[in-house]
């Protein structure tokens, strides 16, 4: 479905501008609205007082210490998942690939569940989630390995199997620790609830490293779309590219998932939307996915905070699922 020829669509420059404006609007709205409504002037005042290190007054604490980190975290996670989604779809040349494909989500869910059920301190939950996610990916890679190669079909199959086994283990643990079931559930539904600046700073390196590497690989990913043989004949080290991309994407995803839980559909859908509007080239696809993914995630969290849907993962899945089905039908008709 991905024609290599550039599609007619919005100009990339204009598109970038529009999406950046969308992200900015989402951030401004997300910072102003919530269970307490704060007028834009007051938001700006709070930001100014924070930046200039003045004493925080009134709603400043809410803006500066609660909402802004939450919004920034949302943008960061949405951007990470979307970039990783776009990259995975390119690496596996599979439109259904998403950041959770290789068992990242089920791995981190298991890690978090172990920590929650065992009653470890909150600070250890993401650590445990992250380690388990990376272990899950390593396991998938090991299972899928054929000599020095990682054939896409084997990778996806291995990812699905690893994911299922880990999910079963998670469920078994939840049943054993019933009284903490709600906390585990909240995690597996994705939540930005207590995201603070420290969390943002912890996720940032994973996102920067992972997404940065993927952006550098964008041109090679484009070449890969011409087919493995062609890419190889053009001098692209296909296997190494695949491995590096998978590791980079898993790192960024695991970092995000460890801190905010499992957030469905953003990484699957955002790259499709960008591809529809701007064509399939990864050098535009990945950065624009970051902008749109960030904006969508901030918007979804705003909905989660202000409606009984209550958790951002529920919102993204409720909105994302139907949209994806619509996309599937539309492509068939095209």
């Amino acid at each position: 479905m991905q024609a290599a020829a550039p599609r007619p669509g919005l100009g990339v420059g204009l598109g970038t501008l529009l999406l950046a404006a969308l992200l900015l609007a989402a951030v401004v709205l997300g910072t102003g609205l919530g269970s307490v409504t704060i007028p834009p002037g007051e938001v700006l005042g709070a930001l100014w007082r924070g930046v200039t290190r003045q004493a925080l007054e009134g709603n400043d604490v809410i803006v500066w210490q609660i909402r802004l980190p939450r919004v920034v975290m949302g943008a960061l996670v949405g951007a990470s998942l979307s970039v990783c989604g776009g990259a995975f779809q390119g690496v596996f040349r599979n439109p259904l690939a998403d950041p959770y494909l290789l068992g990242v989500a089920s791995g981190s869910a298991l890690g978090a569940t172990v920590a929650i059920v065992a009653g470890w301190p909150r600070a250890l939950i993401p650590v445990s989630a992250l380690l388990a996610a990376l272990a899950a990916v390593a396991c998938t890679l090991w299972l899928a390995r054929e000599g020095r190669r990682f054939p896409p079909t084997r990778l996806i199959l291995a990812g699905v199997v690893v994911g299922s086994v880990l999910s079963a283990a998670t469920t078994a643990l939840i049943l054993r620790g019933e009284d903490r079931a709600r906390q585990v559930l909240a995690y597996t539904l994705g939540d930005l609830g207590f995201s603070g600046w420290r969390d943002v700073l912890t996720v940032l390196p994973y996102a920067a490293l992972g997404c940065g590497a993927l952006l550098l690989l964008a041109r090679a990913l484009d070449t890969l779309q011409l087919g493995e043989l062609t890419a190889r004949s053009l001098g692209v080290p296909v296997e190494r590219l695949r491995l590096i991309a998978v590791i980079a994407a898993s790192l960024a995803t695991a970092g995000a998932v460890a801190y905010v839980g499992v957030i469905g559909f953003v990484g699957l859908i955002v790259p499709h939307m960008i591809r529809l509007a701007f064509g399939p080239g990864h050098r535009t696809l990945l950065p624009l996915s970051a902008l749109l993914g960030g904006a969508l995630m901030v918007g979804a969290d705003l909905l989660a905070r202000t409606t009984p849907l209550s958790q951002v993962g529920i919102v993204t899945t409720l909105l994302g699922g139907p949209f994806f089905l619509w996309l599937l039908r539309k492509e068939r008709h095209d």
Binding site: G34, S35, V36, L56, N59, V61, I62, W64, Q65, I66, R67, P69, R70, P121, R122, A123, L175, E178, D179, A181, R182, Q183, A186, D191, G193, F194, S195, G196, W197, R198, R305, S310, Q311
Partner: protein
């Protein structure tokens, strides 16, 4: 004279029960349970399974602990029940074990879908599920009726109410009633004023920051808590609370009024059963230590 309406009937039944004139329950007894089913007990139950910790406590408080032949995994009070066969929890009930224990009646909660398979296995199932504060008393009386211990149930209700009243007299006179946030789950979930725990919080002499409109056990947006700026935070330890973004400025943290609930008190507070008065006492001591010196 008009015909007595349902309310009057209820009143008469209630006053009969309260006057102590209650005779022994006559069987067969048909009642409507919390699942809305009509259930008939052929005779006084001698072999009882309880799958709710609060029900296990009530059955024992009615003096029928030795009639319990099995309890759920979480029943742990009084001590005696810990030695009984375990029949699983809400999500993983062991129906075979329940059937094997040959109970006369299994008292279930309205959740968990146990009624149908057990009924099909020929076992009498009654759903009794106290949820609100008032239901703690009405369901205790109901259990008394079901188990032929109406007088004991009446006495038990009187005792719980007495325990509660004694604490309330103290806390009503407290000079300061702090605004309080009570966290029951770190995701975070809290309690509304109409939940039975919310009623206890108020009776213990605190003003709940959660309005009734948010529901009985609402998931709370953390910024709501910061905005409400409670003078007291219960259910979180000070270290955890202090590490949450924006919380260090909350009045309760500044004055060191952040108190985790000791696990035994926490268990009591979560059970709408006979230890309600004790739970209230524990809570009141946490909120107003000065009254209990």
């Amino acid at each position: 004279m008009t015909f007595p309406i349902k309310g009057i009937l209820t009143l008469i039944t209630l006053s009969a029960a309260l006057s102590g004139a209650a005779a022994a329950t006559s069987y067969p007894l048909t009642i409507t349970d919390d699942l809305g089913r009509k259930v008939t007990l052929k005779a006084e139950p001698k072999r009882i399974i309880s799958v709710l910790p609060s029900t296990s406590e009530t059955v024992c408080a009615l003096g029928l602990c030795d009639r319990l032949v099995g309890v759920d995994d979480y029943s742990d009070y009084p001590q005696q029940v810990t030695k009984l066969p375990k029949v699983g929890g809400l999500y993983n009930p062991n129906i075979e074990a329940m059937v094997a224990l040959k109970p006369d009646v299994v008292i279930v909660s309205q959740y968990g879908k146990l009624a149908e398979p057990l009924t099909q296995a020929g076992i009498t199932v009654i759903a009794v599920n106290p949820e609100t504060y008032d239901e703690v008393f009405s369901k205790t009386l109901l259990l008394g009726k079901i188990l032929n211990r109406e007088a004991q149930a009446k006495t038990l209700v009187g005792k719980i109410k007495g325990d509660i009243a004694r604490v309330e007299i103290l806390t009503k006179n407290a000079v300061r009633q702090p605004t309080a946030y009570f966290e029951i789950d770190p995701t975070p979930y809290s309690i509304g004023p109409n939940s039975f725990m919310g009623v206890l919080l108020t009776k213990a002499g605190a003003r709940n920051i959660i309005p009734a409109s948010m529901g009985d056990f609402p998931k709370v947006d953390p910024e709501f808590i910061v905005k409400a700026n409670p003078q007291l935070i219960l259910g979180v330890d000070a270290k955890t609370a202090g590490a949450r973004p924006g919380w260090s400025g909350i009045s309760a943290l500044k004055t060191g009024k952040v108190k985790d609930i000791p696990s035994e008190l926490n268990t009591m507070l979560g059970r709408p059963g006979p230890r309600l008065g004790q739970a209230l006492m524990g809570l009141a001591k946490l909120i107003h230590p000065e009254l209990f010196k």
